[in-house]
């Protein structure tokens, strides 16, 4: 986990889309929102999940590892940058390899784009746009100590499990205290889709 980073608490998210709108104002991808807001059980629940880039640390950014053009730079501070416009060939390897489903692709422009933690702001100590506008604190930017100063006793996790593999990230999620020693489930393996058993 990075020193100053984003903490995501889906339990606080009300799905208001303020983060989506604010993300469009980010200077590094002005007019295009890079944050994802998904309603995980649409029609049955108001639960919403905001997804920013998790800035994977180990393995080192799978998106960068699978990139055939060496277009994704991980800066020394652990931020996984969006694709270098000069190098990106728009192959979508990163889009489909990201375990969190973060990168987007513009097929006409042959260019990948993704959340870069508002690098134009965070590089100068400012919070990312989404965390700045989130009305409920579902997206918090700061250190773990600053988070705990505001929310005493809160526990966070930055390890996710996908089947047999674990991914440690620079961005963390808030988890209940009794769940902190387990990695957060990443959704894989999928055992059932629409009531149908898909185990193979």
């Amino acid at each position: 986990m990075m020193g100053r980073t984003m903490f995501i608490d889906p339990g606080r998210c009300i799905g208001c889309q303020a983060c989506v709108s604010a993300c469009r104002e980010c200077d590094s991808h002005r007019g295009k929102s890079m944050i994802h807001l998904d309603y995980t059980d649409e029609g049955h629940s108001v639960a919403a999940l905001p997804t920013v880039c998790m800035h994977c640390e180990d393995p080192v950014a799978p998106c960068a590892e699978v990139c055939p053009a060496d277009a994704i730079l991980v800066t020394a501070d652990g931020v996984v940058q969006q694709a270098d416009t000069t190098r990106c060939i728009g192959c979508a390897n990163c889009v489909n390899a990201c375990p969190f489903g973060v990168p987007k692709i513009d097929l006409r422009a042959k260019l990948q784009m993704k959340c870069n933690l508002c690098y134009d702001r965070t590089a100068y100590g400012l919070a990312p746009m989404c965390a700045t506008v989130c009305p409920t604190g579902a997206l918090f930017y700061g250190t773990a100590e600053e988070l705990r100063a505001e929310r005493p006793g809160v526990q966070v996790a930055d390890t996710f499990v996908f089947g047999e593999s674990e991914v440690r990230t620079g961005v963390a999620m808030v988890v209940p205290a009794e769940r902190v020693q387990w990695p957060v489930p990443g959704g894989l393996p999928v055992v059932e889709i629409n009531g149908k058993d898909v185990r193979r």
């Binding site: 889906p10 339990g11 200077d27 590094s28 994802h36 998904d38 059980d41 629940s45 639960a47 999940l49 180990d58 393995p59 080192v60 590892e65 699978v66 990139c67 055939p68 053009a69 060496d70 730079l73 800066t75 000069t86 060939i89 390897n93 889009v95 489909n96 390899a97 990201c98 375990p99 489903g101 422009a109 260019l111 690098y119 134009d120 590089a123 930055d158 996710f160 499990v161 996908f162 089947g163 047999e164 593999s165 674990e166 440690r168 963390a172 902190v180 020693q181 387990w182 990695p183 957060v184 489930p185 990443g186 959704g187 894989l188 999928v190 055992v191 059932e192 889709i193 629409n194 898909v198």
Partner: protein, 385 residues
């Protein structure tokens, strides 16, 4: 619905430890080679650097032979251009070295192999003979994809691109002694252009063709200067471009192009209007900037010139899959993910890299997020509902 992760069997962390970095929480499963350092060390294995060095030496040696024989055993070689020729030999080594290292990485290697297979497939050629030339023209020549990013950037890049192509077509053969311009009357105006010693055409240096022949590099400079200046201006004004930009990577190539072009034009200016005043100094400045740029090509932003053509193979690989209706649909929502061969190729790349979640590539990004949200909802924070 997803399967809950198993609790770690051993090394249960002290709950108090969770107050520290969250990364310490949970039992990490580290397979061999899965750590950051291990991956970094495995990034360029010694066998790859050895192969790359060999490729560099072979290509450089071939270029030296081509220079020697192309200049008719150096008879047509202009010794004043020796520094340029030496720089091109270093360039050949650097490009071959970097290219070999680049295509040895799993992601690039697999797409490179698939692209080459699509490129040399007789069946592909029979079915769509125009696909490759069309892609090469729209993608490499006219760079339509840049127009989709920004019209101004497309226009500026086209100016730089065609300027550099023109300059390369003139200077490389000239410095290698492959082109010669000779006049039977000593000082013209009738000139003969010879390639590898063979006469290609004769022209009058005083007419328009002659002027263009002798001022081709000035034309190239006039194309490059506005294009590079626009990008330089953008790098200082556009907040998106400024974000994360690095001087050596983003600014130096533009400055190098501008210095080369301006000093090149000043050489003409000196010769036409200053009776050669300051010519020697300008010639050295021009030479230094060109040599530096040639040697820089394999290491910085300019390497995209070498990488881009390989991307045509990738486009062709995907195009072939689409032609065969081999579209792979997301296992959950059934929206198309990409072509079947491409998804299989990506899964292979992920396995090569020890990324054990390659099965995830069969789901679209949205479904991955929704399934992760569902897992969080059902297994982590039930109150979330």
């Amino acid at each position: 619905m997803t399967e809950p992760p198993e609790a770690p069997a051993a090394e249960q962390p002290d709950p108090g430890a969770s107050a520290g970095p969250a990364g310490e929480a949970g039992g990490r499963k580290r397979g061999p080679g899965s750590g950051v350092a291990a991956r970094a060390a495995a990034a360029v294995p010694r066998s790859v650097t050895g192969r790359a060095t060999l490729a560099g030496f072979i290509v450089s040696a071939l270029l030296i032979l081509a220079i020697v024989f192309g200049s008719r055993l150096l008879r047509n070689f202009d010794s004043a251009l020796l520094p340029y020729a030496v720089a091109t030999v270093f360039l050949a080594f650097g490009v071959a070295y970097r290219y070999t290292v680049w295509i040895s990485a799993p992601g690039a290697r697999r797409l490179f192999v698939q692209g080459r297979r699509s490129l040399f497939s007789a069946e592909n050629f029979r079915r769509a003979p125009t696909a490759l030339p069309k892609m090469a023209a729209t993608y490499l020549g006219f760079q339509k994809f840049l127009g989709a990013r920004s019209h101004a950037r497309w226009a500026a890049h086209q100016l730089i691109f065609w300027g550099c192509i023109l300059a390369s077509l003139i200077t490389f053969p000239l410095t290698w002694g492959w082109f010669t311009f000779t006049s039977s009357t000593g000082s013209g105006p009738g000139y003969e252009m010879r390639v590898w010693g063979f006469k290609i055409l004769g022209f009058d240096s005083l007419n328009i063709i002659g002027w263009l022949m002798f001022h081709g590099l000035d034309v190239a400079a006039v194309l490059v200067i506005p294009g590079a200046s626009y990008f330089l201006w953008r790098r200082m004004k556009d907040r998106g471009a400024i974000t994360g930009q690095r001087f050596a990577y983003d600014m130096v190539p533009l400055l190098a192009l501008i210095v080369i072009s301006v000093t090149g034009l000043l050489l003409t200016f000196s010769s036409l209007f200053l009776h050669g005043g300051g010519y020697e100094f300008l010639a050295i400045l021009h030479m230094v900037s060109v040599v530096f740029t040639l040697i820089y090509i394999p290491f910085g932003k300019f390497f995209h010139i070498v990488q881009r053509p390989a991307a045509v193979g990738m486009q062709l690989f995907k195009y072939t899959g689409r032609q065969d209706d081999q579209v792979f649909a997301c296992r959950r929502c059934e929206e198309p993910v990409d072509t079947g061969p491409y998804v299989e190729n990506l899964r292979g790349t992920m396995r090569d890299l020890d990324l054990g979640f390659d099965a995830w590539a069969e789901y679209c990004p949205r479904c991955k997020r929704v399934l992760r949200g569902s897992a969080y909802l059902s297994q982590v924070k039930k109150g979330f509902k």
